[in-house]
């Protein structure tokens, strides 16, 4: 008998004799155990020959297919970047919060913009009513951006900006602020989210239709390759897909299908894959089902490496690496008993670290109710610091690698994700799969199934459908200062009065001309923001050429 035969023989005997006898007396808690995504979980995982395929499937950290991590020493070299997403009200207010976070040991900035800024409306636009400064900081012109980074040297900090349809404009402003500080573009480090496809799928801050939006993205890739080489030009995001309700495997699948679309768009535009692919970055969610999440991150890395090498023939190992940011799952936070959220966030952050994340945002306990207070943000940051400095999990690479359960779950998620990608390929690619609503429907169905399983009590959410208390949530609530809109609108008016209107007009005309033709949009947008043209003005100009995307009633 071979080893694996004797294991499987002994396994059967164990099931027959020991397990069945035990179950007859003490039934298990569930008939079928599943992950939070609904994947069956076995009673026990066994050696399944993973050692035979070790080099092919797992390999070594920093080497293809990167299942065990993208860097050769991972957190033994340095910890992940602790990057808390923050921003609210005016640039002055947010600047204070950033300086506080840096003092508290944050190692990178992550800017949250308000919705008008994300969609390209000025603060005085009727569309912006009620939204100015609410979910992030309001930026209308370069003047706001200068205040946002006041006393924060851009050559000393890396900055991530959650900005998509208006990413080119905000990146141009960041470059312009750098120049004013005496920091040349090649020294700037950071990330723009710039992932428009998931906006149509799940997040909703689109402005223009898919085709021109993809063209703007290609222009950013080309421009940054030449002028801002250390900048991550896109953060291809599964986070919002998961927040909208997808399963873990769908999160991986739809994110990588988006990546495939961006790579195809850029190569069709004439860019060489190894020139831009090393600057592609990713962004995933971390939910509370620890084993499934660890497996998800590992599966995503392996699958992406194979796609880049085998499908796109990328030759540079950096093009094969899936580097990612993680945020803990906003939807998992409960309004009931908010203190419990600290524990959820801890488990989620742990799964991101065990899964090999490059940077991490931990949510605050009060975020099912409002934006977080400074105190709750500090606890969230401390959670990461305790994992880093006290838990010991950062001292060896991929500590769960080789766990029978983790390896099997990794294989399963990879396999499921490949099935979805195959289906999307057959449909003619991601743009088509989005336009027909296929992707959105898949996510909505998963969200519905999950919601129903909680309603029926098949799945327990502590404090929500079990272990409830009658106590009203007893925590301080953050509120955006009510004078924000007026301050912002007054500031915008002052900038409009002071700037040279002729320069603005010329710059906007140049933007329009580039949009109508094929010249790269970045240089003309940079000139426009330097002339203090507002976000709303640049977007209106682009909209005259590209039109606007809207969702239909159903």
């Amino acid at each position: 008998m071979t080893d694996s035969q004797s294991v499987s023989h002994a396994h059967k005997q164990w099931e027959d004799k020991l397990v069945n006898k035990t179950i007859a007396r003490f039934p298990e808690r569930e008939k079928e155990f599943t992950t939070v995504s609904g994947v069956p979980v076995d009673r026990l995982y066994l050696p399944d020959g993973v050692e035979d395929g070790y080099l092919d499937k797992l390999g070594f950290p920093g080497q293809y297919p990167f299942t065990r991590g993208v860097q050769p020493t991972m957190y033994r070299g340095r910890f992940w970047t602790m990057r808390q997403y923050a921003g609210f009200s005016t640039a002055e207010e947010s600047n204070k919060r950033y300086r506080y976070l840096l003092e508290q040991g944050s190692t990178g900035l992550s800017v949250a913009f308000d919705l008008p800024t994300q969609i390209g409306y000025d603060s005085d636009d009727p569309m912006s009513a009620g939204e100015v400064g609410k979910v992030g900081v309001a930026i209308d012109t370069l003047a706001d951006m200068e205040k946002l980074f006041d006393s924060i040297p851009l050559d000393k900090v890396s900055t991530s900006m959650t900005i998509n349809s208006t990413a080119a404009i905000l990146l141009a402003m960041y470059i312009a602020v750098g120049e004013k500080q005496g920091v040349p573009p090649e020294k700037l480090e950071g990330t723009i989210q710039n992932d428009i496809l998931k906006e149509y799928i799940a997040r909703g801050t689109y402005r223009f239709p898919p085709k021109p939006s993809l063209r703007i993205i290609s222009d950013i890739f080309a421009y940054c390759t030449k002028h801002v080489p250390s900048w991550n030009t896109i953060s291809i995001s599964g986070y919002h897909i998961r927040e909208a309700g997808s399963t873990a495997a769908q999160e991986v699948a739809f994110t990588l299908a988006d990546a495939i679309c961006y790579v195809e768009t850029a190569t069709k535009a004439g860019l060489s894959i190894d020139d831009f692919a090393p600057r592609l970055a990713f962004f995933f969610a971390a939910h509370t089902d620890v084993l499934e999440e660890v497996a998800k991150f590992r599966a995503a890395r392996r699958l992406y490496a194979r796609i880049m090498k085998e499908r796109f023939n990328a030759g540079n190992p950096k093009s094969w690496m899936l580097r990612f940011h993680t945020q803990t799952g906003g939807v998992t936070l409960t309004a009931q008993q908010p203190d419990n959220n600290v524990i959820r966030v801890t488990l989620q952050a742990l799964s991101a670290v065990l899964g090999g994340t490059q940077s991490l945002h931990t949510n605050s306990k009060d975020e099912a109710l409002a934006l977080p207070t400074e105190e709750s943000v500090r606890v969230a940051l401390r959670t990461q610091q305790v994992i880093a400095y006290e838990s010991g999990v950062a001292n060896t690479i991929d500590p769960l690698g080789g766990s029978y359960a983790i390896e099997k779950l990794t294989d399963q998620i990879e396999e499921q994700a490949m099935q979805y990608i195959k289906k999307i390929d057959e449909m003619g690619g991601m743009v088509h799969a989005i336009e027909t609503g296929y992707v959105q429907r898949q996510i909505e169905e998963s969200a519905y199934r999950y919601g129903q399983s909680v309603e029926k009590g098949e799945r327990t959410v502590v404090g929500v459908n079990k272990f409830q208390t009658d106590e009203a949530p007893n925590c301080e609530i953050f509120t955006v200062p009510p004078e924000t809109t007026k301050k912002q609108v007054d500031g915008l008016k002052a900038v409009r009065d002071k700037r040279d209107p002729r320069k603005v007009e010329q710059a906007l005309a140049a933007v329009k001309k580039a949009a109508q033709g094929t010249d790269n949009l970045m240089p003309v947008i940079l000139e426009a923001v330097k002339a203090y043209a507002s976000i709303g003005e640049v977007c209106k100009t682009l909209q005259e050429v590209y039109g606007e995307y809207t969702e239909s009633f159903n």
Binding site: L115, P116, Q118, I119, Y121, P126, M127, S128, A129, G130, E131, K134, V135, E199, A202, R203, G204, T205, E243, A244, G245, V331, T334, A335, Q336, A368, L369, A370, L371, E444, A447, Y448, G451, E455, V464, N465, A472, P473, I477, T479, V480, T550, E551, S552, F553, N554
Partner: protein, 136 residues
């Protein structure tokens, strides 16, 4: 198995610029399951568009979902526009990321019910049965 009876017509709407539509779609789905006739607007509608659709479709209630913190302004604007069109018989309810202190404030403005995260489907359906029965 589904003993679905014909119930009132409801408009589920996303006012403002917020794109988080998981809750709105979920509520639309459970209300359809419960026998309501539901129209969902999709995201990023102005209060004007929402009220026009509600009047045109002759709905009994409008459900507003706001997660961006702009709920006071947006709920207020919808109520004001309904009043202006003599359509205050259309009940307004809603949900989203709404701090507990704002719930009584919204109710005082005339919002019939506010469902915050964790509200069960059963509680939403029960309340809507009551709200829409009043107008019938």
């Amino acid at each position: 198995m589904n003993q679905v009876t014909h119930k009132a017509r409801i408009l589920i709407a996303k006012p403002g610029l917020d794109g988080h539509d998981r809750g709105a779609k979920y509520v639309a789905h459970i209300l359809r399951d419960a026998g309501f006739e539901v129209i969902y607007t999709g995201i990023r509608r102005s209060p004007e568009q929402i009220v026009a659709a509600a009047v045109q479709e002759d709905v009994a209630a409008i459900g507003l979902s706001v997660l961006s913190g702009a709920h006071i302004e947006l709920f207020g604007r919808v109520l004001e526009l309904l009043k202006g069109r003599g359509a205050s018989d259309i009940a307004v309810f809603g949900g989203g990321t709404i701090p507990p202190a704002d719930v009584p404030r919204l109710e005082a403005m005339g919002v019939a019910a506010v469902f915050t995260p964790g509200s069960s489907a059963a509680s939403i359906i029960e309340k809507l049965d009551k709200i829409t029965a009043v107008g019938a």
